[in-house]
């Protein structure tokens, strides 16, 4: 399903980034990195509107030739970015949403870990397996 999943800290540095191993990892780094522009823009635009009723899901950030990039921002301004293959037309918006929800839940678990230092790279195995699950479905 997803080809790349990334968690980005409030200060816009990556906490976690994982992509399908078959492809050039650096490319996804660039893709996710540049998508942050759009995330920021969207968040700032939404911020002006009703702050409390804010939708966490940002929707499609931007489409490239090969991929679609989706974004999600938690209330603590941690960003999730999921890159999916453009060719996968069967994927619906709802499925993307549920992926983000799952990701968010797992991230919450990570944050609940008293041994996790907020701001450090995520190394949780549980989180890893959740992400793997999202990526495996594609195949």
């Amino acid at each position: 399903m997803a080809v790349c999943v990334a968690v980005i800290a409030k200060e816009n540095y990556p906490l976690y980034i994982r992509s399908v191993p078959t492809q050039n990892e650096l490319k996804f780094h660039y893709t996710v990195h540049t998508s942050l522009d759009v995330v920021e823009e969207k968040v700032s635009a939404v911020g002006k509107a009703l702050a409390d009723q804010r939708e966490l899901y940002l929707g499609l950030l931007y489409p490239t030739e090969d991929y679609k990039v989706y974004g999600y921002v938690t209330n603590s301004k941690v960003k999730f970015v999921i890159v999916v293959d453009s060719s996968n037309t069967s994927l619906r918006d709802n499925e993307i949403r549920s992926m983000f929800r799952k990701l968010h839940n797992s991230f919450t678990d990570v944050m609940c870990n008293p041994f996790y230092n907020p701001g450090d790279a995520i190394q949780s195995r549980a989180f890893d397996s959740v992400v793997s699950g999202m990526m495996v479905q594609a195949c």
Binding site: A9, E11, N12, L26, H33, L36, D37, E41, Y62, P63
Partner: protein
């Protein structure tokens, strides 16, 4: 048309295009100087109509783009300014020819042209021509701007006439079909009379007129025309031109809404207040009607009418609509493959508008679209340009990351493998511009705070590219700097393999160009600060090591003030000097080589193994001058990169720096001894060397200390002191003795010379044995602890029939264990400059002595001697050694003791006058007591001088000091009251027998001399005579034999100190015989406060003899 102009913006639709070109040979700088002056005339208010004309200058314009001039008139080259230099009149015809040739290129569209000739003088220059201007050179053309303005005005006139021409010629005549170059063949053979065709012609013409109106400064008219054109073209589905009309509408609206322009700083428009005012004024009455009848337009629309606001609002698009229309227009353009450039430019223009509106999201959509516009085969240069512009535009809308991404792509494009000559310089420059987008600064200081957070993978890639680009650029220094930076800041993110690669390439680079600490400045002023490798190696802890104690200079405390005052305004205080807050302050001798110093010129060559873990490194430096040195960093060379690392910048190190005070040089002494060096480490760390030796208790050893002056300064002073390290053992006397005078006589000692000093080591520990462990000899009943017993003939020595063997019991061997004594000899020495400044050095020699017990005195007692002035000291001596030994005292004969044998020895001693020894100090009673006891002990000891000798090899002495108790002392003390008994005027003592005759009165005199400090008396003495039968029976019943003449009781009154008192009596012996007289004290009360020994009166032995015959009868 294939070359897009990425710089275009909406308001360019309003301007007229003038091409400025050189003709013939014109130096580039000259040309651009003129070009700059010309292009300063970019907006011109037309005198006649109060309208503004905007001029766009280009020095290069592809003629094919000119062919699209009908489609959008701002693409049409309407003016040509040619610049030429002409040295002589001969060249003039040729130049003129060329100018005409140039005109031909844009000939079809040109309204007017000018030729500016520089350098030509004389006849030809005199002639007055409107289209040619002559100037002597490019610096003296003051009316250049004036000329250009004239030229612009003439263009305006043509433009205005064209506009009027187009607007009015709707009457009857067939409207020509305007078309873009690629359409031309499509219309061949089309029915020109059809309604559809006519409408198309009309629509296109309306649009064209709108363009002209816009250019001519009639914004409202232009809007009206565009609106009509949109209507007309929509009805005939002429999408390309419909798009153009919509774009025109957008451009006009943008110009109206954003008079400041949308191009940003690049082409900031002149203050637009006047223009806004103008646009109001320009508007003619009945603007609303214009919608209905645009053909009725007149040129003199100068009447101001405020009511026109309504119409304007209607014609002009709202900001939201502008974007909508742009989108529509672009979608129409998109239908035509050949209009790619137009579409791209429209996108760019729309993005600029959106950037002003701050609608980044929509702008990004336009840009995203622009990315996908295929312009066919682009040259590499065009690609670079395109990516750069995309990057710029993304930057404009605040998408810095995206901007950086495209800039990087552009940079990579510069060096694409298809390019024959890669532009590494340009690539490098572009890469540098991407740094902010990736949140990367090239200052290592920004990375020193905590862990690095960022897009390490992306940043690392960028740094790698920077390194590569700079290397290919031919600037190895730069690539070394970037690579160092990469290694320093991204170390945590590099895998081991990558680390290896990076370090390897760094070494490769530095082999050609070593990295240093200087700031690298690029020609354009960009500075790269140096990158010190604080993580390679990681320094965890820095400490200034003090010099070894033996070399550490000390300040002479006695020389306060006089030396320091010259250096410091503060009064010297040792506390300040040694302990300045947290700073570590060490004093270091000038020419001593044991100190920690980093800035020394001789670098410590050190190879740290990879992944070594913590590795202590000691750096040693030699200061060259006196003063203070602050150590605030260290210098390393890693992989060929030299770095100066400041301690304060290190994350794990808290020390900010270390202070080293350098004092003038002092001599250095090397100490060697005659005894082997000790493996023992003495208790104190200050000891530079130590010796160890093993001695029997009481033995003396000689130690020769040799001092070599190995420094460069002359040794001037030498002092010696010793200290016994606190020990539980009771020590008698000094352990170390030396003669400093002898050594000091060699001073001053020149460098290279040596002197030697003899030190006697004598150990005298307590010789007393522990009673319970030692054989007790007191059970023989001869020891005396109490009052003297009058047994004058008691034999001194009573050898024991059998000695008690001790070796059987291992528990009793404890006392044979070694005892340890440690002493430190301190040599203080000074000389040279340091001596003048009041510094000295200390050399400590530790002496470790294992003391083996030799003899013990297990018991001490006294026995009175026959004389009251003497007594016998009985010592039970125990040989604890494994050897036979002899012991003697005061010239007595030797006493042989076998191993572990105990014997008693008796020494006859004169009683001592302790009173003279004792000093009355102002100490506590207890202290005074012990001191007194010690003094007495040593006196006794020196008198006794007991010596032992182990027959085979050594001799020593033994001391009784520790074993004497108060009781014994009391017995050994000579009474301060001296009693002299004189019989017949003759001194009488114990052993002396005084002869007298029977019948003769014997005078008896008792004299008391008070040597004590107190007065004594009064005392009463009674004489008692008795006979001793030597069998223990004493006969006191002698009234018949002895008669006292006078009283047998004497009375002595008070005797003051140093005075004496005498009392005399007499007695008469009636029979011959041996008589004894004992003198007893009658009153005990006076004796109570004085020791009994004070009253030791001799017993008088008188032998009464027959009267001689000759005297008899």
């Amino acid at each position: 048309m294939s070359i897009p102009d990425y710089m275009q913006c909406a308001e360019d639709h309003q301007s007229v295009l003038v091409v400025v070109q050189p003709v013939g040979i014109v130096p580039e700088d000259q040309f651009f100087r003129i070009y700059k002056r010309i292009s300063s005339v970019c907006q011109q208010s037309i005198r006649s109509s109060q309208r503004l004309l905007y001029i766009r200058y280009r020095h290069h314009y592809p003629p094919e783009n000119n062919e699209w001039g009908d489609f959008q008139t701002h693409r049409k080259v309407v003016g040509l300014i040619a610049i030429t230099t002409c040295a002589s009149a001969k060249e003039w015809p040729q130049t003129s020819e060329r100018f005409h040739g140039q005109k031909e290129v844009f000939g079809s569209t040109l309204y007017d042209s000018r030729l500016l000739v520089f350098g030509l003088q004389g006849e030809i220059a005199e002639q007055h021509r409107t289209d040619v201007a002559f100037y002597p050179d490019c610096d003296s053309c003051p009316d250049l701007e004036r000329r250009v303005e004239d030229f612009v005005e003439s263009i305006f006139i043509v433009l205005e006439s064209k506009r009027l021409d187009r607007t009015t010629d709707k009457s009857g005549d067939k409207i020509p079909l305007l078309c873009v170059p690629f359409e031309k063949k499509d219309f061949v053979g089309l029915d020109t009379d059809s309604r559809h065709y006519k409408k198309r012609c009309q629509g296109r013409m309306r649009k064209h007129v709108g363009d002209l109106c816009l250019q001519a400064g009639m914004l409202q008219d232009a809007l009206v025309h565009y609106h009509m054109a949109v209507e007309l073209l929509r009805s005939v589905n002429d999408f390309l031109w419909l798009g153009a009309a919509l774009e025109g509408l957008c451009s006009a609206s943008v110009i109206f809404h954003y008079p400041g322009g949308t191009a940003g700083k690049r082409a900031a428009r002149k203050p637009s207040i006047s223009q806004a005012a103008d646009s109001g004024k320009r508007h003619r009455p009945g603007a609303q009607e214009l919608l209905i009848d645009p053909g009725a337009l007149t040129t003199n629309g100068i009447n101001a009418d405020t009511s026109s606001e309504i119409g304007r609002a209607k014609n002009c698009l709202s900001p939201e609509d502008i974007i909508e229309k742009y989108k529509e227009a672009i979608s129409y353009y998109g239908k035509y493959k050949n209009a790619g450039v137009i579409e791209l430019e429209a996108c760019v223009k729309a993005v600029r508008v959106l950037a002003i509106q701050k609608r980044a999201m929509e702008a990004s959509e336009f840009l995203q679209n622009a990315v996908y516009i295929n312009l066919g085969q682009l040259s590499e240069e065009e690609k670079i340009q395109r990516y750069s512009v995309l990057s710029e535009l993304y930057d404009l809308i605040g998408f810095h990351r995206k901007s950086a991404f495209f800039k990087r792509v552009a940079a990579m494009q510069c060096v694409a493998p298809t390019i024959p000559e890669p532009g590494w310089r340009a690539c490098y420059k572009l890469l540098l511009e991407t740094l902010p987008g990736y949140c990367l600064s090239l200052d290592p200081k920004d990375f020193s705070k905590g862990t690095h957070h960022g897009w390490a993978a992306v940043q690392m890639r960028l740094l790698h590219e920077l390194v590569y680009a700079s290397r290919r650029m031919g600037n190895p220094g730069l690539s070394v700097r970037h690579l160092s930076f990469l290694l320093q800041t991204m170390l945590d993110f590099l895998s081991d393999q990558e680390k290896k690669e990076v370090t390897q390439s760094l070494e490769n680079y530095t082999s050609k160009c070593p990295g240093g600490m200087e700031v690298i400045t690029l020609p354009d002023g960009l500075k790269f600060p140096p990158v010190p490798f604080t993580k390679l190696p990681i320094v965890r802890f820095v400490k200034l090591l003090n010099l070894p104690v033996s070399l550490r200079p000390h300040k002479v405390k006695g020389l306060l003030g006089e030396n320091m005052s010259s250096k410091s305004p503060f009064i010297y205080s040792p506390i300040i000097l040694h302990n300045r807050g947290d700073e570590r302050c060490k004093k270091i001798d000038e020419d001593t080589c044991w100190l920690i110093l980093f800035s020394c010129s001789l670098p410590a060559a050190l190879a740290l193994p990879a992944e070594s873990g913590l590795y202590p490194v000691t750096l040693v430096g030699v200061p060259r001058t006196v003063g203070s040195i602050t150590v605030n960093g260290y210098h390393t060379s890693v992989f060929g990169v030299n770095s100066d690392c400041l301690l304060e910048g290190l994350p794990g190190v808290k020390t900010g720096g270390c202070m080293v005070e350098v004092v003038p040089s002092l001599p250095r002494l090397l100490l060697s001894t005659s005894l082997p060096r000790s493996p023992h480490v003495a208790a104190s760390e200050d000891i530079s060397s130590s010796v160890a030796l093993q001695l029997f208790n009481g033995e003396t050893q000689t130690l020769t200390v040799t001092l070599d002056n190995i420094g460069t300064e002359t040794l001037e002073t030498l002092e010696l002191s010793s200290k016994i390290i606190s020990t539980k053992e009771k020590l008698l006397g000094d352990i170390l003795n030396w003669d400093i005078q002898e050594a000091q006589s060699h001073l001053p000692l020149l460098p290279g010379c040596s002197l030697s000093l003899t030190v006697n080591i004598r150990v005298k520990l307590d010789f007393s044995g522990q009673e319970n462990l030692l054989p007790d000899l007191s059970d023989d009943g001869i020891s005396v602890t109490g009052l003297p017993i009058s047994s004058p003939l008691r034999q001194v020595l009573k050898p024991r029939p059998e000695s008690k063997a001790l070796s059987a019991d291992p528990g009793k061997n404890e006392h044979t264990h070694f005892k340890t004594l440690e002493a430190v000899m301190t040599f203080k020495y000074s000389g040279g400059g340091g001596h003048v400044e009041g510094f000295y050095r200390e050399l400590c020699l530790g002496i470790h002595v294992d003391v083996e017990p030799s003899v013990f005195f297990t018991r001490v007692s006294t026995l009175p001697a026959t004389s009251m002035r003497q007594c016998h000291l009985l010592l039970d001596v125990f040989n604890s050694t494994e050897h036979e030994l002899t012991i003697n005292a005061k010239n007595n004969q030797d006493l042989l003791l076998y191993a572990s044998e105990c014997q008693r020895m008796a020494i006859q001693v004169d009683k001592f006058e302790f009173e003279s020894v004792c000093v009355q100090p102002e100490q506590s009673q207890q202290q005074w007591e012990t001191e007194r006891q010690q003094a007495q002990g040593s006196l006794i000891n020196s008198t006794l001088s007991i010596r032992w000798a182990i027959i085979s090899f050594t001799i020593g002495e033994a001391s009784v000091e520790g074993v004497l108790n108060q009781l014994v002392l009391d017995h050994l003390q000579l009474a301060p009251l001296q009693w002299d008994v004189l019989v017949n005027g003759k001194q009488c003592d114990c052993d002396i027998v005084t002869d007298c005759r029977v019948g003769d009165p014997v005078s008896l005199e008792v004299k008391l001399t008070n040597h004590s400090k107190k007065e004594v008396g009064p005392l009463a003495l009674t004489l008692v005579a008795f006979q001793d039968y030597q069998n223990g029976i004493q006969n006191h019943d002698l009234q018949d034999a002895v008669t006292f003449i006078g009283s047998n009781t004497f009375y002595i009154d008070k005797v003051n100190p140093t005075f004496s008192s005498t009392c005399t009596g007499a007695l008469l012996f009636l029979y011959t015989g041996d008589f004894y007289l004992s003198i007893k004290f009658q009153d005990d009360s006076t004796r109570r406060d004085l020791p009994p020994a004070f009253f030791g009166l001799p017993t008088v032995h008188i032998r009464a003899l027959e009267s001689p015959i000759e005297n008899g009868a």
